[in-house]
Amino acid sequence: MKASNTSGWRPEMGIGGSAVPGAQTASGDYGLALEEPLIFELGAAGKCGVDFDEQDAEPSPGLARFLRKAPPALPGLTEPETVRHYTRLSRQNYAIDLGPFPLGSCTMKHNPRLNEKVARLPGFADIHPLQPHGTVRGAYETMAQLADWLTALTGMAAVALTPKAGAHGELCGLLCIRAAQEAKGDARQVVLVPESAHGTNPATAAFAGYRVENIPATADGRVDLGALKARLGPDVAGVMITNPNTCGLLEREMKAISDAVHAAGGYVYCDGANFNAIVGKVRPGDLGVDAMHINLHKTFSTPHGGGGPGSGPVVLSAALAPFAPLPFVTREAGGKVRLTEEEDAGADHPQSFGRMCAFHGQMGMFTRALTYILSHGADGLRQVAEDAVLNANYVLRSLEDVLDAPFAASGPCMHEALFSDADFGLGGLAEGFSTLDIAKGLIDEGFHPMTVYFPLVVHGAMLVEPTETESKAGLDRLIASMRSLAARARAGDEELKSAPHFAPRRRLDETQAARKPVLVWREPEGPD
């Protein structure tokens, strides 16, 4: 049993990176394992890391009754202190730049640095959204070129660029569907969503005013076409389907699903979160999709940034394109690009359902995504999908003998491999061991864990999405660690249940955090 603990750690060794039993340092730091206080504990009032060119001026008399009584109670730091604070904090983060980040359905691929360089060109980063149109022709052209690529790659008629993230894109697509049906005087109430859907799908449908009904899955992890057909009718506005789905499987009957939905007067929304698996290989338009959001921060490599910003353009079929939100980019006959805003909407885009946000969407993500697309080209993007799928299948087949892989027998997976902590083969994990222990053990192994407990349709899901930017050698290391962890969990290695031991923090008490939320820092109360 002990032999499977390849990390060599023993509880008596203590924590915080110390390999010396019971060692304590005076500073609380251990070599390069650095602790960092909050800025409110570091900074001093009146300290400032910005110098001003000009003398202070008194505010004008008319402002007197509006003035702030005291400046915000925020400490400042000088530049060296600021740089050190954030650099020390950064070292407590795992990141793609450090190693594989196989978070299923998140597509954590390498973020090319050319994208960052391009987005920072003053001609993109330092232009205002309401400059006169004639001064930003290059920006409109950039948006149009991205739109051209996205429509060509998906085989769709048009694209709404403005949605700010995937969930915002879902909303955009559903609002297009609702607007299209309202235009026909058809007030349908129900949106069908498969059981395996990402939680944003039902949340979005409910937000758009629909009643959500679930469609069951078949034993091989796909939408039950028979059950879907049976439920279609004049009250069903459409379906929201993720394809490839959240089990990492392609919906083989997607075209039949689309045809059935269309025949019943509904529309097909496809969640494009997993487009990376099929980009350059399959055009969703050929599968009968009416609307699909594309997470530029997934398939097209714009950085995830610790949780955004994202960008979620929505490609639309010809039937839905007239209802796309403002502003809307189109090419005129001569190739000149127009940005249709409220000013021209009445003439150019009269059926638009309106505006979803201020200004024109996530331009900083458009420039990065277009840079990525041009770097890859049609051939590179096809290779992206092929390598992403190859990597995922390699992980699937390299682990299916030690972890339960619920749909492995039904054929290849797409870009992500799904495992569960269910009993399997030689007795499965030991009593009391679960997906969480495998995930936390991976942290000690130096990897970011896979997505856990999603999708909900399997017990203790572990969804591994390696992406195409992992090398074979990198995957082999990940596989070796996961095999070691599976063996330890099967052998009942109790040390795994308290993992991680080598991270900046051990398991955190989430119950306490939620019971009495502390969401902002407050000065400690003095002794009185």
């Binding site: 400032c48 509006f66 915000p72 400042g76 407590q92 940034g305 955004g308 000013e343 946000c357």
Partner: protein, 454 residues
Amino acid sequence: MRYLPLTPTDRTAMLAVIGAGSVDDLFADVPAEARLAGLVPGLPLHASEMAVERHMAGLAGRNLSAGSVPFFLGAGAYRHHIPASVDHLIQRGEFLTSYTPYQPEIAQGTLQVLFEFQTQVARLFGTDIANASMYDGSTACWEAIAMAGRVTRRKRAVLSAGLHPHYVATARTMARFTGDLLEFSTPKLEAAPGDAEVIAAIDDGTSCVVVQYPDILGRIPDLAAIADAAHAKGALLVAVVTEPVALGLIEAPGYLGADIVVGEGQSLGVGLNFGGPYLGLFGASEKFVRQMPGRLCGETVDADGKRGFVLTLSTREQHIRREKATSNICTNSGLCALAFSIHMTLLGGEGLARLARVNHARARQLAERLTQIPGLVLGSQCDTYVNEFTLILPRDAREVADALAAKGVLGGVPLGRLYPDAPHLHRGLLVAATETNTTEDIEAFAEALAGVLA
């Protein structure tokens, strides 16, 4: 292909492990009618870094960048100086290439930043708490209206005439599908911000009053009076701040009675970026915490009793609550929040106050200079603006802005661009000044404007 590590040898070895004859075997589930035989037609092939950079630089070169000319645009997006260390720090790979902190043990960097950010926003706004950010100011504004509806169980919101028209349009789009009722109007080109009209519109069915502060024309509404009127009818006051630098000078909305304060954080750390990505700020009274949208970071301890941070109260959110979630929002604006937080840390509260005074002084200098031009009138009260005001021109400001651009001056946002259907506003030009504007810029603007109007 420089981004794809697998070699042909790797691929062959991996296919052997998988037991597949070719990569296409892995795509066997694709319906035959949708299988592309070759490449997507009509698209170029991959290109070198040098070639792509050349192409993109060509596109960028067709735009007139703000820093290259005298520049005075605002209207919800402001050009401020961003200290060099901000952009350097947000490009550290540990911040740039990490994701939502689902595994807190290895995401304490991001989580502590979010906790600090929430505290900074709350103290800036004068609210008890703040969330970990939203997409942008306009979507945060709608989320506040929706939240006020949940808190008060009422469906009718009053939007002040001074609310940014894009924010109004965003809310109208959403309300059309949720069944919320919105009362809104276009502003008058008057010196006073129209507080009395807002107060008169509040009744027993009002969920909230939404007031921009300073408003779209640069005027400062009396939030305390509106808060009292709203509270007297059981409604909430939602304050909207599109220029957070202004709060270095004027009182925080939370201290004036606002129950929810939202805003656009782009001014600090983020930059113009042609409108996005930006940063939605969201603060509120603590008693409404369980009705708040968006991610929240909270303090806790780890198994050894060490302080640490986690995402918390996620039972409000879509991945747990699904169709019963407070919002469908999933991603926030993490990297922009980091940039905002770093910039705020460099400034500190007193530095922000100083920055705001410098902005105000620049705007006064600009207003004084521009009103020397014959025929120009200030649309705001003569000195009750922070760094943005409205100028009334003798003719449609859209033509004037285009003519100024032709002379190499980006001289403000014409109200006709924002309010195409409100002719009474079309002579208005919204002008902003910040610390980035020099005396030479102001002189160049004034001369160009005098020339255009002559």
